[in-house]
């Protein structure tokens, strides 16, 4: 039974590390599995190897990850790096690939801490080379010191754009413009949520400071931008066009970094059979969970931004809470202890959440973006299915996301629908008048990341004839 653990944590970001460090105090056999070669997740990516100067450019919030990393390495948790999880099921079986070999681990308790991904928003030209997620740009910077060569454009909606622009500024990278695509109506609706947000005023202050710094550096921030298109030839971006102040504008650029907020990365919880709900405020699906991080399935817990988007600090607290729930379920602490031990983390998490309703409203993605009007725009990048083809399928009587998948294969490519699921549901909902929840999400079809026939055939090597 050396493949059996009392607790397996999937994901080595803020939530996963915090969960591991917490649970490690209770004399349990624990494993942490992470897809990357080094811990840190996306927020603290490269945290263990970042050179001093680059760390400074990236800022203090980033460097906070160091303390988590240090604590993790002090613990005696079994650490599986560069390991993909391709399946989790209700029996507590966890399919992994490590060193090109597939195997099954088993666990009594599983904490899924797979974090967030950037919200895919199809717009004309988004599949051209030279169009990339802003978070991708940030990953390149954090993990490898790789930055844009020429003057480039940032566009979209969300605090990451300001943060990345400032980080680039510190590294001396030229930014042609930052196109803010959040709408004026957003800002009006967000105002009533401001008083609550003031309880976490340091975030607001940080945001304003970033904005000010960019303005002082002379970086044009264009507000209320709409109708963004990436243009190019030979599959390569050479310019963008957009609407600003009722005028059509064009910029030449060889790189467009886009960002439309982040959403929970739910492909694992979806595939194991956790129930999910559509959250209107965060505009995404979330696995249903209670205050302890428990999902509807026994022994399957969730922590961090994979459950709902609350940021790295909240993820850390949430990892702690889920870990203590697992420790409780494993009989190492009693109910009273669980209550008391989680109290501070719960309080801090609540405090972190104060800012969220305001941010969610301020940076909400407009329907014009979520429901791609341009029929020619590819929605499913893998199978190359356009918005028009999806709309046509709806008109022919296929009235939910899964039927659309059956009829025209969108979501059947290598990414398993990660890039198109939201857009398809939004289009179906808009065309049928259903809610997005009713339009539905693709059913989970493991493996969550592809495995080879050979790996599957050798899954149980000892029992091979």
């Amino acid at each position: 039974m050396n493949n059996h653990y009392q607790l397996v944590i999937i994901g080595g970001g803020a939530a996963g590390l915090s969960a591991a460090v917490t649970a490690a105090n209770y004399d349990l056999r624990i494993a942490l599995i992470d897809e990357q070669a080094a811990i840190g997740g996306q927020i603290y990516r490269g945290i263990e190897s970042v050179p001093k100067q680059r760390g400074k450019q990236l800022g203090d919030d980033y460097l906070h990850g160091k303390s988590l990393a240090t604590a993790f390495h002090r613990s005696d948790v079994d650490y599986f790096s560069s390991t993909q999880v391709w399946s989790v099921n209700k029996q507590g079986e966890i399919g992994i690939v490590n060193n090109n070999q597939a195997q099954i681990l088993t666990a009594d308790q599983i904490i899924i801490a797979t974090g967030a991904m950037e919200r895919p928003v199809p717009f004309p030209g988004w599949t051209l080379t030279g169009v990339m997620n802003a978070g991708a740009g940030q990953v390149l910077f954090k993990s490898a010191g790789v930055v844009p060569k020429n003057e480039m454009v940032l566009a979209g909606s969300g605090p990451l754009l300001l943060l990345l622009a400032t980080q680039y500024l510190h590294a001396g990278i030229k930014i042609k413009a930052l196109l803010d695509m959040s709408t004026l109506t957003n800002h009006l609706y967000a105002l009533p949520k401001l008083p609550q947000a003031l309880l976490a005023a340091h975030y607001l202050i940080k945001g304003m400071k970033l904005q000010q710094e960019l303005k002082q550096a002379g970086i044009p921030i264009l507000e209320g931008v709409s109708g963004l298109k990436a243009l190019g030839d030979d599959n390569k971006i050479n310019s963008i066009s957009f609407k600003h102040n009722r005028k059509q504008k064009t910029f030449t650029t060889d790189l467009l970094l886009i960002h439309f907020g982040v959403i929970p990365h739910i492909w694992l919880t979806q595939s194991v059979g956790c129930h999910h709900r559509w959250d209107d405020s965060q505009q995404c699906w979330q696995p249903k969970h209670d205050q302890w991080g428990k999902t509807n399935l026994d022994g399957i817990l969730i922590a961090g931004d994979g459950s709902s988007i609350n940021g790295a600090k909240a993820a850390e607290y949430s990892g702690k809470i889920s870990a203590l729930q697992a420790v409780y379920a494993l009989g190492k602490i009693n109910k009273q202890q669980r209550h008391q031990l989680t109290l501070p983390a719960k309080k801090s998490k609540q405090q972190e959440r104060c800012i969220r309703p305001f941010l969610e409203r301020w940076f909400a993605i407009s329907d014009a973006l979520l429901i791609t009007a341009d029929d020619e725009t590819l929605v499913c990048r893998c199978e190359e299915i356009t918005a028009g083809e999806i709309r046509q399928a709806v008109h022919e009587g296929h009235h939910d996301s899964n039927q659309i998948k059956f009829i025209n294969r969108c979501g059947m490519g290598a990414c398993q629908g990660r890039q198109c699921a939201n857009a398809v549901a939004n289009i179906v909902a808009a065309e049928t008048g259903k809610t997005i929840h009713e339009a539905g999400i693709y059913r989970g079809r493991p493996p969550v990341t592809p495995i080879t026939l050979g790996q599957l055939a050798n899954l149980y090597p000892q029992e091979k004839q």
């Binding site: 296929h398 398993q416 079809r445 592809p450 080879t452 899954l459």
Partner: protein, 372 residues
Amino acid sequence: MKTEVLIIGGGLIGSSIALQLALRDCQVTVIEKESSGRHASGVNAGGLRQLNRHVAEIPLTIEAAKLWRNIKELVDSDCDTCFPGQIRVAENSEDLKKLQQRQSLVKSLGYHHEEMITKKELYQLAPALSPHCVGALICREDGYARPYHALTAFRHKAESLGVQYSTDNEVYRLNKLDNVWEVRTQKGEFKADVIVNCAGAWANKFAEILGEGVPLTPKTPMMMVTERLPPFINPVIGATSRKLSFKQMQNGTLVIGGAYLAKLDFQQQNTEIDWKKLSESAQTVMALFPQLENVRIVRSWAGIEAFMPDNLPVISASSTEKNVYHAFGFSAHGFQLSPIIGKIISQLILDGKSELPIKAFDIRRFLRSFPN
């Protein structure tokens, strides 16, 4: 709402029956508890196989094959059909003997759709096969279609002829009053002269209501599909002493089945892949196509399908009530038969008898008193 025929189940069988009835000017309503194709009809392998069927099914499968050949005439769409043949390979002399016996049997019944082929011809047809095979049984006219596309075509054609579908609507109760069936559903009451039970894995609920419950078991055959590959094999490949169905679709993906079963929670309608068994399925593929070792599986799934103890469907009039008919229990090989089932049931309803022999599929075979 009053209709002449009410069909419970909007899958391929229900839609095919609806279509045939509508072609003969019947007024038809289909009640579907979820969406058409949510279960077996949407997620099966789409095999158009006459090869190696139970002898009782041979007359039906041959007529069904004729309909599939010209499916566009029936449903205005080719359902992405193609007919590269289905092959059952022999991996050793024992396999070969079994296949030869099978072919003799089929021939002795007067059918010629199944032929033995030599090793040489086998490798001409499927050069990608591992070199150890020694011969094969083939049905050259066999092939496959895309199941959800076929279902959609049947349904659209039926709708174009006036068939009404009521989806996301579960049937709760059946009641007969003065020769009219009252059907209580989630969305209200329907009245009908005739009822057809095509509820797939859920069909026994209605058989029980009618007092003729059958030993139906819901099972969940697993399938897996790979990434797109360059075209390298045309015919559908099965094996004699291993569980395998293997084909390359026109889009390049490989669709692999083998009747390995997933875990099922029938109440929750929840299936869960059994990795141990799917691993066996992958081992079978590796034995016949070792060069595919590094090919990636991108999805696996299992649909919920009705299995009968003898693996034969129920296609018959009710034994307890007039004006009720059954077509279910296809035991994971109903896709190919579906067009002919539509004809048979519509004939039973409108003409009182079918042109084809269907005694073997009578629901009464599960009653002790029924003479076999």
